[in-house]
Amino acid sequence: MEIVKTENLVKIYQDNGVPVEALKMINLSVSKGEYVVIAGPSGSGKTTLLNLLGALDKPTKGKIYFEGEDITLKEKSDLAKIRLHKLGFIFQAYNLIPVLSAIENIEFSMMLLGIPEKERKEKALSLMDELGIKELADKRPNEMSGGQQQRVAVTRAIVNNPSLVLADEPTANLDSVTAGHLLDLMERMNAEKNITFIFSSHDRQVIDRAKRLIILKDGLIES
């Protein structure tokens, strides 16, 4: 089953009035259960592509289909709904909400879905247990290491059983051992839960473990 597909995707930014073509005619299709890494040098358009696939940004030209539905021209609120129900995000800087504990951060997206408190607490704890971070439940982000925060972020990203998890340079701020553990975790989620992952990264370790590798260069898919 095709999760996300792009057709002739173009993104042009205005940089101080000068148009910059970040993506040029990208045609891409990712199916359910894939584990994809988009690699390429800085400025190649990795993050731009990920943002478009994640319904965070709109293309200048071309189309994006999510689970077969054209989302290119959807309203802001419809895109928020898609992100809430279908997508999970993992950021380079973890981006947990600093005033919430680990379990509250995980619960937050369930709260947005209207899941009752008791149910979401049980679900969050059960998933944290499964991912081996249950002891972090009551810790705030500033009381956790980078690796721990990113594990909580992964848990937050998958807790609503999304169709697709987008991870933007998830290991960039981690040492190689911690990064390895985190990748193990995501690989396990991909294998056990059939969650589709799309990474953007130029980390060798991430690239080496890709089941499908897409190389971007100057806004074009090279291979």
Binding site: N51, G54, L56, D57, K76, S77, A80, K81, R83, L84, H85, L87, F89, F91, N95, I97, P98, V99, L100, E104, E107, F108, S109, M111, L112, E117, R156
Partner: protein
């Protein structure tokens, strides 16, 4: 959870939140105090007038209020007395004879209003008896008079001295009588003290030649808020030939002044509110700009604009509620003792007395004032958060996430 998040966001920057809270507390305390003080002043002005001579309701012969001549006495005062005694809303009443004239001493003379009263009745409707500062209140003596302190000073007389009162009689000639001053009173209204004297009703009736008739009934009701319905009852029971006025009819300027004062207090509250709103807008904008990236993350994980908006408004609302509670406590802690001890404004005593207010003001807080104050700050806080919240939801997720 949104409330929990809003609550925790408030305490991220404790110093900033405390500054906002202090401004809200000071604002609300000021509102509670000024409301209490102005309310107290207005009530004192009104009650002083009521308790001096206006009372809650006055009954006269029709046309008397516009033409206070001696001949305009009540044609059948016993009928009025009967109606008053039958009405359960009446607390007390006093029959009065009324004349304007001149009071002369050996040294000076002055224009006065001469009230002829039944002393025991008048003591139940006015504060004259309790306002005696020298000598005593009227008793049974026929040629006794009590006068105001200012008038005594002007005439250069004291208790025991003799004065002569002159007024037009019912026949149109000049009637006069000599009186011995047995008491001097001082009220909170110096103008009243300069213009008013009291004698026995029977003596004044003789002097004016009006038989045993009276010009006025001054009525105190059990509940002054019900004067309008009692007025209606009196008018129906008495029929034509009488005029029945409430204090609101008799003190139009004072009522107007009170309304004006209330409105000016509202304007003052709005000014305080506006100042606070701009403070809150500033603080909330700072708070929003500090969290742009976080809002981007919240949008990325699917938070809709309405929830984001609500969260920011909640933060301000919580600040408003805390500020209200603390401000109310401070305001009441200051207000309640002052309501008992009063605020001594004796340095302004002369000015206040000419307005009919005593030198000591007793703040009065009504339930309405408290409800207004309680609603005021959270509303102000929410209004102050609307624009910052609008700015937050206008952010594009991609811009917000990448904001540094």
């Amino acid at each position: 959870m949104l409330l929990k998040l809003a609550w925790r966001n408030i305490w991220r920057n404790k110093r900033r939140s405390l500054i906002v809270l202090i401004s809200l507390v000071v604002g609300l305390t000021a509102i509670v105090l000024t409301d209490g003080l102005s309310n107290g002043m207005m009530r004192q002005m009104l009650f002083n007038q009521i308790n001096l001579d206006i009372s809650h309701i006055q009954i006269h012969k029709s046309g008397f209020n516009n033409n206070k001549i001696v001949k305009n006495f009540i044609p059948d005062y016993k009928n009025v007395e009967f109606v008053l005694q039958k009405n359960p809303g009446v607390e007390a009443y006093s029959k009065r004879v009324f004349a304007t004239g001149i009071l002369s001493s050996a040294n000076n003379s002055s224009g006065v209003t001469i009230y002829g009263i039944v002393p025991s009745e008048e003591a139940k409707v006015s504060i004259i008896k309790s306002s005696i500062i020298d000598g005593k209140y009227l008793g049974s003596g026929k040629r006794e008079i009590i006068i105001g302190k200012k008038l005594a000073d002007k005439l250069g007389v004291e208790v025991g001295d003799k004065v002569v009162a002159m007024a037009n009689s019912s026949k149109g000639d000049i009637a006069s009588d000599a009186f011995k001053i047995i008491g001097i009173f001082q009220t909170s209204n110096s103008e009243y003290d300069k213009m008013t004297v009291y004698v026995q009703a029977a003596t004044e009736q003789d002097m004016l030649g009006i038989g045993d008739n009276y010009h006025e009934f001054a009525v105190i009701t059990k509940d002054y808020n019900k004067v309008a319905s009692i007025q209606n009852n009196f008018e129906k029971s008495l029929g034509t030939g009488y005029e029945v006025y409430t204090y609101r009819d008799l003190l139009p300027m004072l009522i107007y002044q009170m309304d004006l004062y209330k409105e000016s207090m509202m304007i003052l509250n709005v000014i305080i509110g506006l100042a606070l709103i701009f403070g809150i807008i500033n603080t909330m904008l700072m708070s929003v700009f500090e969290r742009i990236q976080e809002f981007g993350v919240l949008m990325a994980i699917g938070m809709k604009n309405n929830r984001l908006y609500l969260m920011i408004v909640f933060e301000a609302f919580i600040l408003g509620v805390i500020g209200t509670l603390a401000g109310l406590v401070f305001g009441l802690l200051l207000d309640i003792p002052l309501a008992h001890s009063g605020i001594n404004l004796s340095i302004f005593a002369t000015g206040l007395e000419s307005f009919g207010i005593g030198a000591v003001i007793y703040p009065v807080l009504s339930v309405g004032n408290i409800i207004n104050a309680v609603l005021f700050m959270p509303i102000v806080a929410v209004l102050g958060a609307l624009y910052p919240a609008y700015r937050a939801i206008k952010l594009e997720p991609i811009y917000a996430i990448n904001y540094v």
